[in-house]
Each structure stands twice: as structure tokens, then as C-alpha cells.
């Protein structure tokens, strides 16, 4: 079962157009980029991060000749068949990893006239996996004691924050949900935020670069919230910037969520949860 990319090429002109052939090129690429801090370290395998072509095909939709004036529509179809032993990944726009599918139409024209070209991106969603994801709730408690990289534990104000995420293996079309209760806090809370982070890994046998960057930050509480009252955790996964968690030989795309609690004295408390996204 192979899906097809279908459509029409539309040519609109007042008069008849002379051309030397119209062609369509479909291409799927994974672009890997090294962050500036990694470049120096991994210069050795710098070459290995060249774009990976996932799919590529080219067809001629019209032989050299003339297109009559007015609106001409030429239908086309591409089978979405991956190259060789490669497989197709979902469209994803990240910082160091970009998975992008494009369709380009070229019209070659005789001398003294510029060739015309038009490119557009098309989105690819994976076929939903048949398997059902069983949500596994994750409970958490944050107190000064649970924190890791603290220099002076004694200087920290006391607080107890409990909560749970309904699941960490999330369906990408469904929001991330959960609840959070500020049970007590010596210092007033300034803000509670959900930070969605992408973790992109590029590399090969020689080594790899792993970078975590923020996708979005959603505030779920502002000001000194009522203690003991559960606050909903709710975040919609943004389109394009998220995709099902991806692991290949050359690169990885993973996601994490941080629950960030900002206290009034500007203490920043973060609790990290790795996520596994999938499409059902």
C-alpha cells in the first residue's frame, strides 16, 4: 500500500507560452546541522552531516511545446516510495534536525526568457500505528530534598508541590494533561510553567552532538496560587515543531517537558519528564 501525492499544475497566462518542457521534482530531505558549540569538537566528522535524501523523483509533465493562453491544468501523481532501504519520516521543523518534503515545478524556456520555478512544501504524517497506547500516569513530588543540583540546600525555602502527568507516552494529537497541587510554600509563587523541549541528537559511529532547545513555554499558573487546589496541567503539542519520537542511525528527535516553578525570590525549580510521542 503506497500513498500517492496527487494534484495539478496550473499555468495561467494571457497568451500562449512557448516552453522547452515542464517537469516536477519531488524531494524529501533530512537536514542535519551542528550547533556552534559542537562544531569545533566534531569537526572530524563534519562531512557526515550532509543532508540525507529520503525520497526523490522527477517526472516530465509536458514535452517542449506551447501552452495555450488562459488557464491550463495538468494533473500529476507521485507514489510516495522511499529510496532504497530508507524510510519516510514525518515532517518536522527543528533547530538541528529538519525533515522537509518539497515539490518543485520547473518550466524551461527558450533563450532570452528566464526559466520559471515554483516550490512548495508538503506535509507528511505517518500512518497511525494500530497499537493502542496505554496511558501510564506519572506521579511526582517536588520538595527541596528532591532537587539535585543544589549548592546550599539550607538556603532554600520550604515547599511541597505534588502532581501527576496523566501519561508520558503521549498521542501527538492529544494534549498533555495532568494536575499539580501546591501543598505549601514558604515563599510566594510567581509563576508555574510547562516547558516543552526538543532533544535532537546528530551523529554517527565517531560521536554525536546532543542539544536540547525549547519549543514552547506555557504558563499554567500566575501569581501566588491557592494552596491545596489542584491546577490543571494542559498543553497542546504544536504542529510542525513536534513529531513522533524518532530514532535512526544518524539522528534522534526526542521530547521532554519541564515543569518550571518560579518563586517570588526568583528561585527556579525544574522537574524534567521525558516524553514519548506517537501517532495513534
Amino acid at each position: 500500500l503506497v500513498e500517492v501525492l496527487a494534484g495539478v499544475v496550473v499555468i495561467t497566462s494571457k497568451e500562449a507560452v512557448q516552453h522547452q518542457g515542464i517537469s516536477l521534482t519531488m524531494e524529501g530531505l533530512v537536514n542535519l546541522q551542528l550547533s556552534s558549540k559542537s562544531v569545533g569538537v566534531f569537526e572530524a566528522f563534519y562531512n557526515s552531516v550532509k543532508p540525507i535524501q529520503l525520497i526523490s523523483s522527477n517526472i516530465e509533465v509536458a514535452k517542449p511545446g506551447k501552452v495555450p493562453g488562459g488557464k491550463t491544468e495538468i494533473p500529476f501523481e507521485f507514489p510516495l516510495q522511499a529510496k532504497g532501504n530508507k524510510m519516510l519520516y514525518e515532517t518536522y521543523h527543528g533547530v538541528f534536525v529538519n525533515i522537509q518534503y518539497t515539490l518543485r515545478c520547473d518550466m524551461r524556456r527558450p533563450l532570452l526568457a528566464k526559466d520559471l520555478s515554483k516550490t512548495c512544501e508538503f506535509m507528511l504524517h505517518c500512518q497511525p500505528q494500530k497499537s493502542k497506547v496505554q496511558p501510564t500516569p506519572v506521579d511526582f513530588t517536588i520538595t527541596p530534598e528532591t532537587l539535585q543540583n543544589v549548592k546550599e540546600r539550607t538556603s532554600l525555602p520550604k515547599f511541597v508541590i505534588r502532581g501527576h502527568l496523566d501519561a508520558t507516552n503521549c498521542v501527538i494529537t492529544q494534549p498533555l494533561t495532568g494536575e499539580l497541587v501546591v501543598e505549601s510554600s514558604e515563599v510566594a509563587i510567581k509563576s508555574i510553567e510547562l516547558q516543552l523541549v526538543r532533544v535532537e541528537t546528530c551523529g554517527c559511529a565517531e560521536g554525536y552532538a546532543r542539544d536540547a532547545t525549547e519549543i514552547q513555554n506555557i504558563q499554567i499558573a500566575e501569581g501566588d496560587v491557592c494552596h491545596g487546589l489542584p491546577i490543571p496541567i494542559y498543553m497542546v503539542f504544536p504542529r510542525l515543531f513536534t513529531c513522533p519520537t524518532l530514532e535512526t542511525t544518524n539522528f534522534k528527535v526526542e521530547f521532554e517537558v519541564n515543569v518550571v516553578i518560579v518563586l517570588h525570590d526568583d528561585h527556579l525549580i525544574t522537574e524534567n519528564f521525558p516524553l514519548k510521542l506517537c501517532r495513534v
Partner: protein
């Protein structure tokens, strides 16, 4: 009265008329009239009229084409379209359709049902007070003089974000929602409240502009920036107003988005209002989804919440259950707002949107309320207290900021909710400590019947409240509001009033006191007697008098007065309240005082059925009217004077001492002294006195005793000395004439003579133009009217024994002669012509009409030939004058006027002259010819005259074949 009769003022008419009448060559003979026989002859035969026959009073069939183009846009009722069978009454046709006011009224009347119909939301009826009604109130109430600032965070405070390396491109993309102008931050400081409102309005405008110029992202940015302002609680007193202003913008935005998506679905044909998800096409769905995705990625909590709430309705495009899933989620989301004031207003907004979009989803409304209760203790938390200290706002003031929002939430919750639920809510409020704020809103928002039935409970709860928190007088005010609309059980009423008043009377601040007392006056008036109301008034006076506190409370005091007047229509009860007049005395600002007096008089006129002589009422109302009268000064506008006079006249008409005529007269004397500045009142008084004289006559059956004769003379004297004080000349003239007639009817001959003589002597003063309804008009027509009616009175006035024959007639004619008539006017001659019938009538043996017990000239002279000759001489003079005038007209271009005058003299001669007299006959023929000479006279009109005329016309023809 005799002194007025100065002989000098009486001109010597006969001589003067003789001097003019030198050329008169013939006698004028009056035709002998048998009035009785003529009356018989002239009576119409009674003819049975067929329904189909022509009848002058039957509606004339006229097709009224004017009403068709009258611009009635189908809004008025159809009844007027039957105008074809209605006589073209100029007044009614004037009003029909084209009257702008009725057009408006009709338009609004026809609009209302369609509006309520188009909403088509069965769950929210007209009994739900809409938000729009609250807006203005909130804006007016929550104001500030402090400086405000608008902080449009065009830049981003991403400092807390731990992200290390984000490429510039992605960063831009992510933050484009947050930034209006990349990296800039506009902070507008030191705005006055008005500036602030203007700025917000500008933002509203730029939102609309951005939308219409297809800059959807910019529009969204504006909305986000605006809703961010709602998280700022500096200048907290202004917060409720800020909320109103900004939610207006959000409403606009929500509407724009909804309409846009709606129009996308109605591409081939519009989708119905009650569309389902299947009717929505994919493009519209995708657009809608895009909006929701964009909003879901808004970083900050409060803008995300508000903006999503604003476009809640758009969920209808996506799926059936969208709204009922979103509402609870948004409700829960509000828990994340730490500031209790910000949170409660967010809840109010959500409830409002929920009520509009899905009124059947009561659960989220209730959830909102219960969440509010759960986080209620936040209000007394440290964060809030610190903030109040910094802003120097006191707790009671701060708590009242919550009222509009909690009122609204509770109003939504309580709307058509079962009593069980309300009871549960109340119980839950009770359990919370420091719940005065909630209690207040419960009383405000729950059904008055519900509150009234539990009034005693509520009083108990109010008493238990903490004194330091929410002001108690506000609580009692809210309770009073409910009790003014619904009645508590009979047996509880007095205890309720006592308990409430016990607290109210302890309120220190006069302003707070009166605000609360004003509300409770209604309850008191509704259920109790004057005794209790009097006590309440006494208390109000006690509180408001120190330091002249009443000066700042006129609106409330006025409202107290209005409520009392609504419930007490019996004025003897009203004025027997000891404290009523002292209460009235508190209105010391003139304009307010007059306003109050006017309202009292309006109620009196409306509700007083029987004339009264109750001294309490009279004294009090005289005082009230005097107050109104005394407010008149040089600057008072004409309309105000008129309305005051109308009210005072209404009072005067209602005063009657029954058979005690003398007391009535002395009342009029007093009233005249009191109301001397209002002419209409003086006129009314003269009429009243004249009426009094006539009433006396009726009671005495026409013959006065010595005592009543003296009384009616006193009445005449009253009128005689009052009339000259009037400035309007025609009022004076008519009142002189009227009073003369009354005097005559009461056999006061010398008084009647004096009145009529006074009228004659006033005549020269009549100006040539008078002002009628603000326009200058020639007075001639009015003057002619008056003279004609004066002449007809003169028939029955007997000559004064010491003056010459026809003394008054001559006097009048001399005045007419000396009067400076308008140039080119025939008025003088027309008077002469109309005097002829009088003279003819005077020469009859028995007069057309007489006054019982008054001997007219017929009896005095008994047809003395000298008298008749005198009349004839006078007639000659008059005719001579007329003929003279006719001659001058012939010389000028006045031929048309000449013809018309000649004809009217001719018809007078025909009707009243004895045409058997040769000379007179000849004159009539000449006049006939003159009037027809220039062809200006329509023969048909001139011929179709009354039977008498026709008869005479035949006679004429017999003589001159």
C-alpha cells in the same frame, strides 16, 4: 368702584361723529325683526336621513394618497391604511405616518420582538439582566484619579527561559505571537483615566482596522496585548472598569473570528444559524483549528484564557461537544490565577461567555462558583494584604471591587436555578468565614422572592459578619433591594424593619447612611403606615442635618421623596406626618427644591379626586406652590413658567370650600398675593372668582339677597383690581369682557359698566403685532374677534343714567376710529359694518336676548323715537364712513377689496335693513353693482345665501327689473 368712572376718560362721541357725518343724505331704517317668528321659519325641517344619503357629518370619502407616500416603512399598524374612509382631518392626517416620534416608537416596537426572536436561545429570557446593563454602572462606579499605565509588552521577557541556543529564525517564529514590533516595548505612563479609556478605544479601533485589512496576526497580537493588561492590578480601584473596557475588545474579536469562519462556510449559500458540524467545510474547519492552535501556544496564562474564552463559540464549527469540553477546562484553568481579584473577573467573563454561547451548561457555572468558594481565602492572604498596603487601599474598598464580578457569577448561577441549588449555595457560603462579600452578592443576585422568604435568616447572618471587612450598610442595602421587590412573610416584616433600622441608624458616614436608608424607605412605605414612615423620616433628618450633610445627598433624598409619593396618595395622611415638611425643608438647593415640589404637585394633581378644604393640605400645598412660584426669576424660561403655572392651577382648581364662598374668595385673595409672578395663575384665579360669583347666583336662584349681592360685588371688585396686573393685553381684554358679563348676570350694573369701559379704554394699547408661540403675528384678527364679541355683549348692557345714549357703543367706535390700524387695512371699516347689526338689533322692540333681572335699553327707552332716531343717526354716520372708505379704494388699486367690502355692507343691509325704504334700497342696489363691477365677486356665492337674503334679493329685483 365708582371712582374708576372718571368722566374725563369718556369721550364725547356724538359730536365727533356728527362732524364727520355732514354729507349723509338719507335715513337708515332698521328692518323690524320678529325674532320668534324668524326662529320658527329658519328652523330646519327634520328630514329622516337614509344611511346611504349624503350627510354633512358623515365621513367624506377621500382617497388619501398622501399617506401612501408618507414614508411609513411598513412599521405602523395596518389600521391607518383604512384612511380611504376617514375624513381628511388635517390633524390626524398630519400625524399619520409622518410623525417622526411615532415612527421611532413604531420602529423600536417592531424591532424588539425580532431581536429576541433572532437570539433564539430559549434558556436566556428577558428576565435575565444582560451584561450590557451592568457595563455603564461599573464604568461609572469604579473610577480613579491616580495615574495609570498601559504596558504593551511588545518585547518579551524570556529571561527566565533556560533555552541556550535558539537560532534567530526559529526564535522569531516562536515569538511572533508575543511581539507586535520586534524587540520593542511600549510603556505608556502617567495616563489619566480618560486617556486610558481613549487608548483602549484606540486599540479597539486598530483591532478592527487590522482585521479589515486582513492582518489577522496583528489583530490577534492586539487582543493578546490587551488581555495581558488584565493581569496588572496596579491602581486596583480601577480594575473593574478596566475589565469592562478590555472585555469589550475581546467581544469584538470573538465576533470577528466567528463571523469570518461563518462566512467561509456559507460560500455557496449561507448556512443556517442552527448549523451542525457537517455543514462546515474543510477550509473553514482548518482555519478554525488554526486559531485554536495559535491561541493554545500563547505563553502567558491570562491572555491564553481570555482569548480562548472569547472565541469559545467557534467550537461549534469543529465538533458538537467542543463547548461543553472547553468550558470545564477553562474553568479549571482559572485556578492557576493567583490574584483573587483577577481570578474572579476571569470567572465572570467565562460565565458571561458561557451564558451567551451555551446557557444550558449550568455545571461549569456552578463549578466556577464552587472554585471561587474554594479559593476564597486567597482574598485574605498575605500577597493581597501586602499589595493593599502598597497601594494604600482599605479592605472595605477592596472588597467592594469584587461585587460586580461575584454578582454576575451568582446571577448566572441563580438564573432559573431550583431552590434546592440556591439553598445549597447559601449553605456553602455560610460555612466560609468572613463571607460578607459573598452574602452581599447572594442577596443581590438570587431571586428576591428567595431572599425575602429567608429575610430573617439573612439578618442573622449579616449580624454575624466581621465588622472590619465588608461594610454592613452595603449588606443591608442589598437586603433592602430584594425586599423592595418581594415581600417577606407578614409576621416577620416588623422585626425585619426593626433589626435593619437598628443597624442602619448606626452608620456613621451620612453618605453611606442615606444610600442604605433610601433603599429601606421603599420597604417601609410598602408595608407600614405613616407612623413608621414618619419615624424613618425623623431618623433621616437626624442623620442628614449635622454639617449640612444633605447637600451631598440630594439624589438619594429625592428618591426617598419619590418612594413616599408612590405609596402615599392620600395627602391628608401625607401631610399629617410630622416630619414630612421638615424633610421637605432639607431640600435647600433651589433647583432641587423646586424639582421636589413639582413632583409632589404632580402626584397631587394625578391622584386627588375630590376638591378639598382640608386646612392641613391647603397650608402645606400652598407652601409647596409658593416655593415653586418663588423660584421664578428673570432667567426662568417660558416653558418652565408654564409648567409651574400648570401645576399651581391644578392645585387651585382642587380647592373648594363648598358653600363657604367667602372663605373661597379669601383663599383667592391669598393666592393672588402668593402667586403674583405667574400670569396664568392670576388668570386662573380671576376665572375661579368669576365662577364663584356665578355659583352664588345659581345657589340664590338668580335673585341675590343683600348679603350675596355684596359678595358678588366683592368678587367683581377682586377681578377689577386684579386684571390690570396682567401684562398680556388680550388676556386683560377678554377677562374684562368676561367679568363684565358675570357682573351683568349678577345685576351689578355699575361694575359691569366699569369693566366694559375699562376694556374700551385698554383698546388703544393693543399693539399691532403680538407674539404667538414665539412668532410675531398681526393682532388685527384677534382684535376684530374681540370687538365682535364685545359688540354682541353691548346689546344687553343698559345705558348709564348719567351718560348719554349709547354711551358705550359710541365710546367703542371712537376708540376704533382713533386706533392706529395697519396701513392698507379695512379692519376699521369692517368693525363699522359689524356694528350695524348691533344697532339694528338695538332698535327692535324686544331684544334677541336679555339677562334676567336686568333691564336692557328696550325697557329703559321703551322704543322711544328719540332713541331710535339716535340709533339711525349713528348708523348713517357709520354707513357714511364705509362709503367714504369705498371711494378711496376706488381710486387706488384696491378694487378687489372695494368689491368685497361693498358686498359685505350689502349683505348686512339685506339682513338687517328695511329695504322698503327707497333710499336704502337704492343704496343696496348700488352696492350690489359696485361689488360686481370689477368681476371680483363670485355671483354664485353671493346668490346662494340664507332664505332671508334670497327673499330680499327677490325684492330687489322687483324694484329693478
Amino acid at each position: 368702584m365708582g371712582s374708576v368712572y372718571s368722566p374725563n376718560s369718556c369721550p364725547n362721541f356724538p359730536t365727533r361723529f356728527h362732524s364727520i357725518a355732514l354729507y349723509s343724505v338719507f335715513f337708515r331704517h332698521a328692518r323690524v325683526r320678529k325674532y320668534g317668528a324668524e326662529l320658527q321659519r329658519c328652523r330646519l325641517d327634520a328630514v329622516p336621513v337614509d344611511l346611504g344619503d349624503y350627510h354633512p357629518l358623515k365621513p367624506i370619502t377621500v382617497t388619501d394618497s398622501r399617506s401612501r407616500r408618507g414614508g411609513r416603512k411598513g412599521s405602523t399598524s395596518s389600521s391607518s391604511s383604512s384612511s380611504s374612509s376617514v375624513a381628511p382631518d388635517p390633524l390626524s392626517s398630519m400625524l399619520e405616518g409622518t410623525d417622526p416620534l411615532s415612527l421611532f416608537a413604531a420602529a423600536s416596537a417592531s424591532e424588539t420582538p425580532t431581536l429576541s426572536h433572532s437570539k433564539n436561545e430559549e434558556e436566556v429570557g428577558a428576565d435575565f439582566e444582560p451584561w450590557s446593563a451592568k457595563r455603564g454602572e461599573i464604568l461609572a462606579r469604579f473610577t480613579t484619579t491616580e495615574k495609570l499605565s498601559i504596558n504593551l509588552f511588545m518585547g518579551s521577557d524570556k529571561t527566565s527561559s533556560p533555552s541556550s541556543a535558539v537560532s534567530e529564525k526559529v526564535r522569531t517564529r516562536l515569538e511572533e505571537l508575543d511581539d507586535l514590533e520586534e524587540g520593542s516595548q511600549r510603556e505608556l505612563l502617567n495616563l489619566s483615566q480618560q486617556d486610558y479609556v481613549n487608548r483602549i478605544e484606540e486599540l479597539n479601533q486598530s483591532l478592527k482596522e487590522a482585521w479589515s485589512s486582513d492582518q489577522k496576526v496583528k489583530a490577534l497580537k492586539i487582543v493578546i496585548q490587551c488581555s495581558k493588561l488584565l493581569s496588572d492590578t496596579s491602581v486596583i480601584q480601577f480594575y473593574p472598569s478596566k475589565f469592562v473596557l478590555i472585555t469589550d475588545i475581546l467581544d469584538t474579536f470573538g465576533r470577528l473570528v466567528y463571523e469570518r469562519i461563518w462566512s467561509m462556510c456559507s460560500d455557496p449559500r449561507p448556512i443556517p444559524d442552527s448549523f451542525s458540524v457537517e455543514d462546515v467545510n474543510d477550509t473553514a474547519k482548518e482555519t478554525c483549528l488554526n486559531w485554536f492552535f495559535k491561541i493554545a501556544s500563547i505563553r502567558e496564562l491570562i491572555p491564553r484564557l481570555y482569548v480562548e474564552a472569547a472565541i469559545l463559540k467557534c467550537n461549534r464549527f469543529l465538533n458538537k461537544t467542543g463547548i461543553q469540553e472547553t468550558l470545564p477546562r477553562l474553568t479549571a484553568m482559572i485556578r492557576g490565577i493567583g490574584d483573587p481579584l483577577v481570578a474572579v473577573y476571569a470567572r465572570a467573563y467565562l460565565c458571561r461567555v458561557g451564558m451567551e454561547v451555551a446557557p444550558h451548561l449550568k455545571d461549569s457555572l456552578n463549578k466556577n462558583f464552587f472554585d471561587l468558594l474554594a479559593s476564597f481565602r486567597q482574598i485574605h492572604g498575605d500577597t493581597v494584604q501586602n499589595q493593599l498596603v502598597i497601594q494604600r487601599v482599605e479592605i472595605p474598598v477592596y472588597l467592594t471591587l469584587y461585587s460586580p464580578a461575584i454578582h454576575w457569577i451568582l446571577q448566572c448561577v441563580a438564573y432559573r436555578a431550583p431552590d434546592v441549588l440556591l439553598t445549597e449555595m447559601m449553605e456553602r457560603c455560610k460555612k466560609l468565614g468572613n463571607n460578607a462579600l459573598l452574602l452581599n452578592s447572594v442577596m443581590w443576585a438570587f431571586r428576591p422572592e428567595f431572599v425575602a422568604a429567608r429575610a430573617t435568616d439573612f439578618i442573622g447572618m449579616i449580624k454575624d459578619c466581621d465588622e472590619a471587612g465588608f461594610p454592613k450598610h452595603l449588606l443591608f442595602g442589598s437586603l433592602g433591594r430584594s425586599l423592595a421587590c418581594a415581600d417577606p412573610p407578614e409576621s416577620e416584616r416588623l422585626p425585619i424593619l426593626n433589626e435593619a433600622w437598628k443597624v442602619i441608624t448606626k452608620v456613621r458616614s451620612p453618605q453611606d447612611y442615606i444610600n442604605c436608608a433610601e433603599i429601606w424607605v421603599e420597604f417601609t412605605c410598602r408595608h407600614f403606615t405613616k407612623r413608621e414612615v414618619n419615624t424613618v423620616l425623623a431618623d433621616i433628618i437626624k442623620h442628614m442635618t449635622p454639617d449640612r450633610a444633605f447637600e451631598d445627598a440630594y439624589p438619594q433624598l429625592q428618591s426617598v421623596m419619590k418612594k413616599i409619593l408612590t405609596y402615599f396618595h392620600n395627602f391628608s395622611v401625607l401631610f399629617s406626618m410630622e416630619k414630612f415638611l421638615p424633610f421637605l425643608d432639607m431640600f435647600q438647593k433651589d433647583s432641587v427644591r423646586v424639582e421636589v415640589c413639582k413632583s409632589i404637585m404632580e402626584v397631587f394633581i394625578k391622584h386627588q379626586q375630590e376638591p378639598t378644604r382640608d386646612p392641613v393640605i391647603l397650608n402645606a400645598l400652598l407652601h409647596v406652590c409658593k416655593t415653586m412660584h418663588d423660584s421664578v426669576n428673570a432667567l426662568t424660561v417660558e416653558d418652565e413658567k408654564r409648567s409651574l403655572a400648570l401645576l399651581i392651577n391644578g392645585f387651585i382648581r382642587m380647592v373648594s370650600f363648598g358653600r363657604d364662598f367667602e372663605q373661597q374668595l379669601s383663599f383667592c385673595v391669598e393666592a393672588r398675593a402668593t402667586f403674583c409672578n405667574l400670569e396664568p395663575v392670576i388668570i386662573q384665579l380671576i376665572h375661579t372668582v368669576n365662577q364663584l360669583a356665578m355659583e352664588t347666583r345659581r345657589v340664590m336662584g338668580g335673585s341675590h339677597s343683600r348679603k350675596t349681592a355684596a359678595f358678588v360685588r366683592a368678587c367683581a371688585a377682586y377681578s377689577f383690581i386684579t386684571i390690570p396686573s396682567l401684562t398680556s393685553i388680550f388676556s386683560r381684554l377678554h377677562l374684562y369682557l368676561l367679568s363684565g358679563q358675570v357682573a351683568l348676570a349678577n345685576q351689578c350694573l355699575s361694575q359691569a359698566d366699569a369693566f366694559l369701559k375699562a376694556a374700551v379704554s385698554v383698546l388703544p394699547e393693543v399693539p399691532r403685532t403680538i407674539s404667538v408661540e414665539g412668532k410675531q403675528r398681526s393682532s388685527e384678527a384677534f382684535l376684530l374677534d374681540f370687538i365682535n364679541s364685545f359688540l354682541s355683549t353691548l346689546l344687553v348692557v343698559p345705558d348709564h343714567p348719567e351718560q348719554g345714549v349709547l354711551y358705550l357703543v359710541r365710546g367703542l367706535l371712537n376708540m376704533v376710529q382713533d386706533y392706529t390700524w395697519e396701513d392698507n387695512s379695512d379692519a376699521k371699516v369692517r368693525v363699522y359694518i359689524s356694528a350695524l347689526p348691533l344697532l339694528a338689533a338695538m332698535s327692535q322692540e324686544s331684544y334677541l336676548y336679555t339677562i334676567p333681572k336686568v333691564d336692557s335699553n328696550e325697557t329703559l327707552y321703551g322704543g322711544d323715537p328719540k332713541f331710535v332716531a339716535e340709533i339711525s343717526r349713528l348708523c348713517e354716520t357709520l354707513i357714511g364712513q364705509v362709503l367714504d372708505h369705498l371711494k378711496t379704494l376706488g381710486r387706488e388699486e384696491g378694487v378687489r377689496r372695494q368689491g368685497s367690502l361693498a358686498f359685505s355692507l350689502f349683505s348686512t343691509l339685506l339682513a338687517h335693513g328695511d329695504l322698503r325704504n327707497n333710499k336704502l334700497n337704492q343704496l343696496a342696489v348700488n352696492l350690489w353693482n359696485l361689488s360686481h363691477k370689477n368681476g371680483h365677486c363670485d355671483t354664485r356665492t353671493s346668490v346662494s345665501l340664507s332664505p332671508t337674503y334670497t327673499f330680499s334679493y327677490k325684492l330687489l329685483n322687483d324694484f329693478h327689473p
